[in-house]
Amino acid sequence: MIDPFIHAALLMTTPILLAAIGGLVNRVGGLVNIGLESMMLAGALVAVAVSAATGSALVALAAAVLVGALIGLAMSLVVTRLQANEIIVGLGFGVAVAGLVRFILKSAYGVSGTFNPPGVAMLPRLAIPYLSDIPVLGAIVSGQDGLTWFAWAMVPATAFFLQRTRAGLRLRATGAAEATVRAVGLSPLNIRDASTAFAGAMAGLAGAHLSIGVVGLFNEGIIGGRGFIALAAFYFGRNAPWRTALGALLFGLFDAAQIRLQGHGAPAELVQMLPYVIVIVVLTGLGLADRGRPSRRSL
């Protein structure tokens, strides 16, 4: 009874976690990425199309990473080089990419809404012998796909990268003290662009996980606001990888619960809005905690 639920919760955590890690790195580098949703959407579509065309899930993932990173880079260039507001540009990418995806579905594949080509290769689920028979633990570690393992491996990797590496230090400096980065002869804008491209790549993977890891087809509503849930996760985590992962896990639990509740006539919408409520509560708590300190403003 509990095992399928744990499994579903971990499965739904993966896309949120992947996108949240990308968004976290991006935010540490000084850019709040509102466009994650659009990069996930593009990644999901490309993964299905490439997976069906080549029969290889790995090639599909590579394509999703590439497309996500390209969209991320394009978004970053508008923000860093043309000094556009990151929030507006992010929302604009949401509108434009959603339009482009539907346009491509109609004009290239002649379908509207759902794209279900034959021969989509799904991400293989990795069953672990012996462990899979143990209750709870088996549901946690066995039968997950490679992207889930990758997503969780990225949590300590990101923490190590940010705290212990030269590049991580430079990234943090880019977000916190841009002038210093420039003073030592580095380009904060290039570093920021790289962090947004990374966020795009992670979001592309997150989208691919939903399309070729979970359902095996593409639907225009497949992301369902999970890009914004990822945003909620890294705001919840306040730029700390483990706290962000905890947020993603919590929201993955809600997501799995919500999917289950839909069958029972329970108010799934109310569960759906919990992540957003939690972020406001967390921000309020933080605001109360550093009351009196002047805040950094940007518009």
Partner: protein, 345 residues
């Protein structure tokens, strides 16, 4: 040569540039998918402005955008980055639809103002929270108002699917409003309704308020320089809160007018992103009344053209979404038309 003309030219170019880019990128997408861009654009122009009925359709489509653009502008000019108009639009639309149904016995002259006032009030109340958080605790209003949008959408969707579901109706919608609560049509058989006049009047009023009224000047000063404003005795946190609530009132009213004027009920998925488009409209219009009006008309033209274009060609309607998104992306980008550009890489 024209030292006086150049700034005007560069400002005009700065405002026009996003649209030029949108047309160019749209053309690339069209050409790449085997459509003839010029022909498509001609069809779009004639679908948006060709004849009285098409113009009426464009003005109808521009109606909600006038007010969501206004809602964004009153906040932006005070330095408040409120992106929460979308949520207010949903809540206002639902409250107006419910009042329009429940007060069927009342005379129309009372129902409409009461329903619209209810819509505005719920919108204003919705943004008090982020307003206080921003004014008193310095909590980033971008994230709180963005999150509140999703909460409002989920909340209204839950209400129309659960507690408020009409018996015997499968689709998630409230009951239709009473005939007396509908805003009168201006040019039957077109759908242009009184809401357009109300919205236009509010934009004009805003134009006078923002330029001539003391409160309008003060709130702009807060946006330009909060420290200076504090030094000359303006209560900056109170201004933040007031402008946030005013923005919410207008956003809620926009939803109410949309419900009473066009949809005549509240349905799940009530807004295709009017609140977000309003942000682009305020930025493109540089928060000025005339700018908001022009930008709302252009966006209205795009969506009314898109809606009927599909009937006469095989061009997917989504080309309009692509173009609207591109305009948003470049709405506030500095494209090098004489604006100060710090060249650093």
């Amino acid at each position: 040569m024209g030292a006086a003309i150049l700034p005007i030219f560069s400002r005009a170019a700065g405002v026009a540039a996003p649209f030029v880019l949108a047309v160019a990128i749209g053309a690339i997408v069209l050409a790449a998918t085997g459509h003839e861009p010029l022909g498509v654009y001609q069809l779009m122009a004639s679908e948006a402005f060709g004849g009285e009925r098409r113009i009426a359709a464009t003005l109808t489509a521009a109606t909600p955008l006038l007010l969501t653009g206004l809602a964004a502008a009153v906040a932006f000019r005070s330095g408040i980055f409120n992106v929460g108009a979308e949520g207010c639009f949903y809540l206002g639309g639902m409250v107006a639809a419910l009042l329009g149904f429940a007060l069927a016995e009342w005379p129309p002259i009372l129902v409409v103002p009461v329903a619209l006032a209810g819509a505005a009030i719920v919108g204003g109340l919705w943004l008090i929270g982020p307003g206080i958080l921003r004014a008193r605790l310095g909590v980033d209003e971008v994230v709180t108002t963005l999150m509140l949008n999703f909460i409002a959408i989920d909340l209204t969707s839950w209400l129309v699917n659960g507690p408020l579901l009409v018996r015997g109706s499968a689709n998630s919608a409230t009951a239709p409003i009473a005939a007396g609560a509908e805003l009168p049509r201006l040019l039957p058989p077109t759908t242009l309704h009184l809401g357009f006049v109300i919205s236009l009047a509010l934009v004009v009023l805003y134009g006078f308020w923002s330029r001539l009224a003391v409160a309008g000047f003060r709130s702009r000063l807060v946006g330009l320089n909060a420290r200076f404003s504090r030094a000359v005795g303006i209560d900056v946190p109170a201004t933040f809160l007031r402008m946030m609530v005013l923005s919410g009132l207008i956003g809620g009213l926009a939803g109410g007018i949309h419900a009473l004027g066009l949809v005549h009920r509240f349905v799940a998925g009530f807004s295709p992103g009017y609140g977000f488009t309003g942000i682009a409209i305020a930025l493109l219009g540089r928060n000025s009344a005339i700018g908001i009006f022009l930008a709302a008309i252009v966006f209205g033209a795009l969506s009314s053209a898109g809606a009927t274009m599909q009937l006469f060609s095989d061009v997917p309607i989504e080309i309009v979404g692509i173009m609207q998104g591109v305009v948003m992306i470049f709405a506030v980008a500095k494209l090098g038309f004489g604006q100060a550009r710090a060249a650093r890489a």
